[in-house]
């Protein structure tokens, strides 16, 4: 008997991966999903090898990372792949999400796919943060201190909860150990969610640049999209190799090559570049609890997006106003990223407030209103046409 018949889940997955068909008109922007799959594979594979040589102890973690870099055969390649792999994972996930925003991939019937995606993004951020702590450099330690301290903003139980997370009264060995454990656990949760993401997508098929129902013009996944995806992988590896081999530390912070020292605070504590837009939102709200809520809300608001979508038309291809505002949103997001790394002084703080307000109003006000406006325009034009006939 065929293996796929004995394992029904396997046949679902294989049909999603091999036998399914996809809209013929999807562009290279639809390659990012499969490339993100490759990113997850790179991270898990390199991570498992790194864990064989890493020691999660405050006195040894930094030294063990240097041991990997200097003494383990090709250890530098494995570690640089893992560190840059995280950056690339985020770079590509941002494009992947932006593609969904632009072409309305979050609308019915793909709300569930989108929702799983948002959860994946959240867990990814958690995993990346936990992993950044492990080398136990200055930025690791202080980022861990700053980020875990955000939990103390929870009313009533805040301080107790932070100490529960730390396993002590400060970020210390217990914290490092549990972060290592969770950093090893979460990627497998991610892998499970990714499989769910693919299976849920398979139910209705991919969206496409035109935004029409995906059964209108379908082509087979294998071989057409297999060769296209492989071409995407190669281009990804070309870019990835450029950073891993020639500029491996460009996306990192030099302070993380200084061993963690709880007695010396770095001049500026900045998170990894991929957290900067959300860090800017956190800092734009004057109250601690408000900032934390805004930062988490900035991600969770994506879950509400399908329900805030008022336009009858799905894709930005046929929505000129939405198209324009989408790029304004992207620009605003990059500005937030810039502000996240800027010091807390004029004019950065006030720009940060405006950018944060725009970020939320884009989802809550602008997007729904533009949709309604576009619907009215469609009605008006179709009405005029009917009169002419």
């Amino acid at each position: 008997m065929k293996l796929s018949k004995r394992l029904s889940g396997l046949s679902h997955l294989s049909s999603a991966l091999v036998e399914s068909s996809l809209p013929a008109n999807i562009s290279y922007f639809w390659n990012f999903g499969s490339i993100l799959g490759i990113c997850l594979v790179i991270q898990i594979a390199s991570g498992v090898v790194l864990a064989m040589h890493y020691t999660p102890h405050v006195d040894l973690a930094f030294i063990s990372v240097e041991h990997i870099m200097r003494d383990v055969n090709l250890g530098w390649l494995i570690r640089y792949s893992h560190a840059n792999g995280a950056s690339f994972f985020f770079m590509f996930v941002y494009v992947h999400i932006a593609r969904g925003l632009y072409f309305g991939s979050y609308t019915k019937p793909r709300v569930f796919v989108w929702s799983i995606g948002v959860i994946i993004f959240l867990i990814m951020m958690g995993t990346a943060f936990l992993g950044y702590v492990l080398p136990w450099g200055q930025m690791s330690f202080w980022a861990a201190t700053v980020i875990t301290n955000m939990l103390s903003a929870i009313p009533w139980i805040g301080q107790d909860f932070v100490q529960f997370v730390w396993g002590g009264f400060s970020v210390d060995n217990a914290t490092l150990n549990r972060f290592f454990s969770l950093h090893y656990l979460l990627p497998f949760l991610l892998a499970g969610l990714v499989i769910m993401h693919i299976l849920a997508l398979h139910k209705h098929g991919s969206n496409n640049p035109m935004g029409f129902e995906s059964h209108m013009d379908k082509t087979r996944l294998h071989d057409l999209f297999t060769v296209k995806d492989i071409h995407g992988f190669i281009l990804f590896f070309l870019l990835f190799s450029f950073f891993v081999f020639f500029y491996p530390n460009v996306m990192g912070h030099p302070d993380n090559y200084i061993p963690a020292n709880p007695l010396v605070t770095p001049a500026h504590i900045v998170p990894e570049w991929y957290f900067l837009p959300f860090y800017a939102i956190l800092r734009s709200i004057p109250s601690k609890l408000g900032g934390v809520i805004a930062m988490i809300g900035a991600i969770l608001i994506l879950l509400a997006l399908p329900f805030l979508h008022t336009a009858w038309v799905r894709s930005a291809t046929f929505r000129p106003i939405h198209k324009f505002l989408f790029w304004i949103f992207v620009g605003n997001f990059l500005i937030l990223g810039y502000l996240g790394g800027a010091p807390m002084e004029a004019p950065y703080t006030i720009v940060g407030v405006y950018s944060t307000v725009f970020y939320f109003s884009y989802f809550l006000i602008i997007n729904p209103l533009v949709g309604i406006f576009e619907n009215v325009m469609i009605l008006l034009f179709s009405f005029r046409k009917r009169i002419k006939c």
Partner: protein
């Protein structure tokens, strides 16, 4: 499509600006080191091994009395700055504590290739006591642990000067515009002809600063040459693979790309 591509192209520099802005904001009170044309910082640049050997000499004779190089072992020098026999002799010059022996006592023995460079002080407190309260940092990762590390290091070593008017420097500190805060515990260390190079290169202070910067860049990234060589191979391989897969993709897709979609309305009313 072209608008989209244009904006995508714009987002690259914007992303770079985002990343680099986070870095430029650091240590805004210190003077930025100029960009020097380090050959080893170029994408395909390698280390000059004669300079590495001179740089080791500078480290050993000038820096090592206060700064450790704890991540470098004598075996790492073999084939880089010294031959195996020379590195062995260097190691044997130093006595290391080993043990316990069969009686449970610690004993001293000459160094071996597998030994790491000795620490100049027993612990941080001893280092601070000997240096007016300042703690000379370990140099193993120095060029990676500072923004534009090699530029910074060279500029710092050569940057000692009289403090400008109005700047008070406490006793025991020294003015250096490249150091965050401007006041550094370390005095100027490099002076013309203070050491003699094996290979007869004139030991000017800038020559020594350049050589020791190169040596410490190697100490921070000993894998650099291997990495870049492998990177070159990867890039060439991937470029050919990209061309091949692009051709195959186009070939397979011709059928789809050359379709003609015709709309035939059943009836006109």
């Amino acid at each position: 499509m072209s608008v989209r591509l244009g904006l995508l192209a714009l987002s690259g520099p914007a992303l770079y600006a985002t990343v680099s802005s986070a870095k430029k904001m650091e240590n805004s009170d210190a003077l930025h080191a100029p960009h020097y044309p380090w050959h080893f910082n170029k994408p395909l640049g390698t280390f000059d091994h004669a300079a590495l050997r001179r740089g080791f000499e500078v480290y050993k004779q000038v820096c090592a009395s206060c700064h450790g190089l704890s991540r470098v072992a004598f075996r790492n020098l073999v084939g880089v700055t010294h031959t195996a026999a020379e590195a062995k002799m260097l190691a044997e010059e130093i006595e290391f504590q080993d043990g316990p022996d069969e009686n449970g006592d610690m004993f001293m023995r000459p160094g071996k290739l597998s030994d790491y460079f000795p620490e100049p002080y027993a612990n941080e407190n001893a280092a601070r006591a000997a240096n007016n309260g300042a703690y000379p940092p370990d140099l193993s990762l120095m060029t990676k642990a500072r923004h534009n590390g090699s530029d910074y290091l060279f500029a710092l070593l050569m940057g000692y000067c009289e403090p400008p008017g109005g700047v008070e420097i406490r006793d025991g500190l020294h003015y250096n515009p490249y150091f965050p805060g401007g006041a550094i515990g370390m005095a100027r260390q490099l002076f013309d002809d203070m050491i003699e190079y094996d290979d007869g290169t004139p030991a000017t202070s800038s020559q020594m600063a350049k050589d020791v910067t190169e040596f410490l860049s190697w100490a921070a990234e000993p894998e650099m040459t291997e990495r870049k060589l492998m990177g070159l191979r990867a890039m060439v391989l991937m470029t050919f693979a990209a061309a091949a897969t692009w051709y195959i993709k186009r070939h397979r897709w011709t059928v789809i790309k050359n379709r003609k979609v015709v709309y035939n309305p059943m009836m006109k009313n």
